[in-house]
Symmetry: C2
């Protein structure tokens, strides 16, 4: 999934070039390139599909030259994650109705790739054998209020030393006090938004919980007993642009979490701990990058800090920064945009960007 | 005089394009253009000479297209203000030995141009009639520790409502306590570094106090009584590059203040109050530009300030800045350079720039 616009990462992330296509960590590779490399260890390249907004087709193919054009599934509009996954399902179903699927965001950070591969391989084994919707829970290291949490239910199994539990509840981003209780209890894991399932299981879940989406993407027919069945017909060929436009125009905008996961009874979770961040905010980036002796996270080659600490500074290549006397700030320069903001106030960035949009139009957002 | 490099104004001002060639106030004209326009009200364009480093010839002629090439006097190296003025004298003397001269920096701010013209016209009248070295004193509005001060001596005259005093002393930049005493006394004026004199008077002063400079620029001969006289000889033609190189190579580096003004007995001062700043520092710029309701001085069109006050922010055209949570900072973006620094620490900018030079060479300074 590579269609997001990462507005909380302004000014680096913009609608034209959102976060997944940026080397936001300063490591020489973009987030989608890092994600692609992780995936290549798990399955052959020809089995990888990128679902993204049509406007990003060129950048995807530039950044991932191993992909063929038909592996980039172009969404004509943004309708959240459920239609995105349904689109992928439709394409995969034409190729292999028996497929097991891993669904992952393209803009997350994963530090321990071996541990990650272990978890994924265990998960794919589980979903091949069980009608499960499987999600990944990350053992929390702090009472983060920026993540959703998964409450563990009864343990189901242990595969490759990975414990699998039934999911008791999904919870939205909690208040700090609640997050502290979650952390202390040991029963709550961060929801990483990474999913595994067989195509059969996710098809059945769409059919049950989001039939309007399923109908659009798969076409509905009735069997001899009057039950709706889902099958692909030529006139619903998702490789046809006009058909796809029509499908997306009619589809509701709904997340897979709200539309399917929270409503299903066969949702399970893998207890994981591989160093993960959704890199959803500058704070998340700060937490996950190396820092200097004064706890400054410096992304860029020529950043000179004086009497400054606890800052995250990101400069483009070739830009010199001299920064004096800042404690706990975000400083990000991105060609024609500069942001300076207290780290503790970063939730205001969306407000700033909205006001910028009102003032200057789409050019800078 | 347009040869300075304005290092305290980094990163806007650099050796390649120093402050006088920048639109540092964001008004659409560079400081030297503003200075030139002021001078055009005082004398014909053909009487204006720019003394600058040879490397700035092109930019001077670009920014002041009314000038002819021979009006730009190109110094082959930097030797402070006394040689700069001697060079100007030598050129002017060839054209008009009876000239009265106004010497001015090209990078100062003057707010009330009518009051300025009144002071200058009074001054030119005085030096035409008296063997005076005349300087301009600015009535101080605050105990500024960044300026030199002139102590008033006995009143000499009043011309066009401008009071002329003999100068008692020149003082270097004072400590704050001393500056407060200066301000309270009413006897101390800021030294604006703007001078008026007849060519005869300044020639005589060079002859007496800086004979080694005078000899280099004017050539020395002895009259029949054995006194040194100064005259121009063909082999000292300052329009000849090799001769000029030789003169500058041999000249000491010395300021007109130290070399002449502080040692002369015929120094007078005009009490002035026309809204002046040397724009020598970001603090001086801050004091002299308009501010928003939160006392932020914003130079640039698209600077959005949130919960910030007492800042000076300068952005190039087309650059968006969103700044949150800063109090009392300098923020300056200049293409490949960014500076963030507490206003109270701006004297450290020179140190930062020196360290940058050691680290990265001359490219960014």
């Amino acid at each position: 999934m590579a269609g997001g616009i990462g507005s909380r990462f302004w000014p680096l992330s913009t609608t034209n070039v959102p976060k997944q296509f940026l080397d936001i960590l300063g490591v020489g590779k973009t987030l989608i390139q890092l994600t692609f490399e992780r995936m290549k260890k798990i399955c052959p390249v020809e089995n990888i599909y990128i679902v993204t907004n049509a406007q990003y087709e060129t950048v995807v193919l530039q950044q991932l030259p191993e992909l063929k054009a038909e592996q980039v599934l172009k969404e004509p509009m943004r309708k959240n994650t459920a239609p995105c996954i349904a689109y992928g399902n439709a394409v995969i179903k034409q190729r292999n109705p028996q497929a097991n699927i891993l669904v992952t965001p393209s803009d997350h950070l994963i530090l321990n790739e071996t541990a990650f591969a272990n978890v994924i391989n265990a998960g794919l084994k589980i979903v091949a054998e069980n009608d499960f919707l499987l999600t990944i829970g990350i053992k929390p290291s702090r009472p983060d209020t920026g993540y959703g949490y998964i409450q563990l239910g009864k343990q189901f199994d242990e595969v490759n030393n990975i414990i699998v539990n039934k999911v008791k509840t999904f919870t939205e981003k909690p208040e700090l006090e609640m997050a502290k209780i979650f952390l202390k209890s040991g029963d709550f894991f961060w929801n990483a938004g990474i999913f595994m399932w067989s195509l059969k299981s996710i098809d059945a879940a769409f059919k049950e919980h989001l039939p309007e989406v399923a109908t659009l993407f798969y076409d509905a027919e009735k069997d001899e007993k009057g039950n709706i069945i889902f099958a692909y017909k030529t006139e619903r060929d998702v490789s046809d642009t006009a058909t796809l436009n029509s499908i997306y125009a009619q589809s509701p905008s709904v997340s897979i979490d709200y539309g399917v996961m929270e409503k299903s009874n066969n949702v399970y979770v893998l207890q994981s701990d591989f160093g993960w961040s959704d890199l959803g905010t500058w704070g998340a980036l700060y937490e996950n990058t190396s820092k200097d002796y004064a706890e400054n996270a410096l992304i860029g080659h020529d950043i000179m800090m004086y009497d400054s600490k606890n800052c995250v500074v990101s400069m483009p290549a070739g830009k010199i920064a001299i920064i004096e006397g800042l404690d706990g700030y975000i400083v990000v320069d991105s060609s024609d945009k500069l942001l300076i903001c207290r780290r503790e106030d970063e939730q205001r960035i969306r407000q700033f960007v909205n006001e910028l949009k009102m003032k200057k139009g789409e050019a800078y957002v």
